[in-house]
Amino acid sequence: MPARVLATQEMKIASEDDVVLVRRAVRSLAERRGFDSFASAALTTAVTELGRNIWIHARHGAAIIEELEDGPRPGVRVEFKDQGPGIPDINWAMAGGNSTASSLGLGLSGTKRLVDDFQIQSEVGRGTSVRITKWKRF
């Protein structure tokens, strides 16, 4: 059976303060569902990285926060959507460049390591969607 969605919350991202609000919402959700401090820090950081990407590259987007349950296991899924410029070469972006110029790349590949599931879709001129999921560890 696929995971159940217990609750959904959509938050806009149009400023850096919005990113902070999204991060706080995700953190409090993770803590409420009993995530340990390491998992919570990883998730919160991932959310901040992805939220910032929207703010910096697309200026406007949304974060959809879902509270999940897979049997007895709680999880958090966040989808970051924007209608920004899109990423021309996702593989290159994910390869994690070391240069400070490719801050977007570093954010994505590093973020992927912080979560259990990472899905990204992007089309130049249309926008980008990044969906991350993290489950509580037992």
Binding site: F38, T45, G110
Partner: protein
């Protein structure tokens, strides 16, 4: 957030900056400005940045911290980062962010001691 949000104290010749609140990009950048101005003003040879109060450090803040250390060094000041929390350290290394070139110590006291060691070994050159 405007500058002056993070207090920077002079403690016996060393600058001590204690970051207690969560940082957003703007406040992080303001912090960097404040630190460099304080170094210029006080001519301190050492800077301790205490991040015991930070429960999250993302790549932007991490870069600000490491860059601040490099900038301070150019101005003749050694920097030590102290009090990083376990979950922050774990997250940074998992992301592959290495924070190379930054001195670290467990707490403010150790940070001060390390600065003294660095100063004496440098002065001996």
């Amino acid at each position: 957030m405007q500058s002056g949000m993070i207090p920077i104290l002079k403690v016996g010749g060393i600058l001590l900056a204690s970051i207690q609140t969560e940082l957003n990009d703007t406040s992080a950048q303001a912090f960097q400005q404040d630190v460099l101005k304080a170094i210029e003003r006080t001519r301190s040879r050492g800077l301790v940045i205490d991040i015991t109060g930070l429960d999250m450090v993302d790549t932007f803040v991490a870069r600000i911290l490491t860059d601040s250390g490099r900038m301070a060094k150019l101005m003749g000041t050694e920097t030590v980062l102290v009090g990083m929390r376990p979950e922050v350290a774990a997250t940074l290394v998992r992301m592959g962010f290495s924070m190379q070139g930054v001195h670290t110590a467990l707490n403010v006291d150790e940070g001060m001691a390390l600065l003294a060691t660095l100063r004496s070994s440098r002065d001996g050159e």
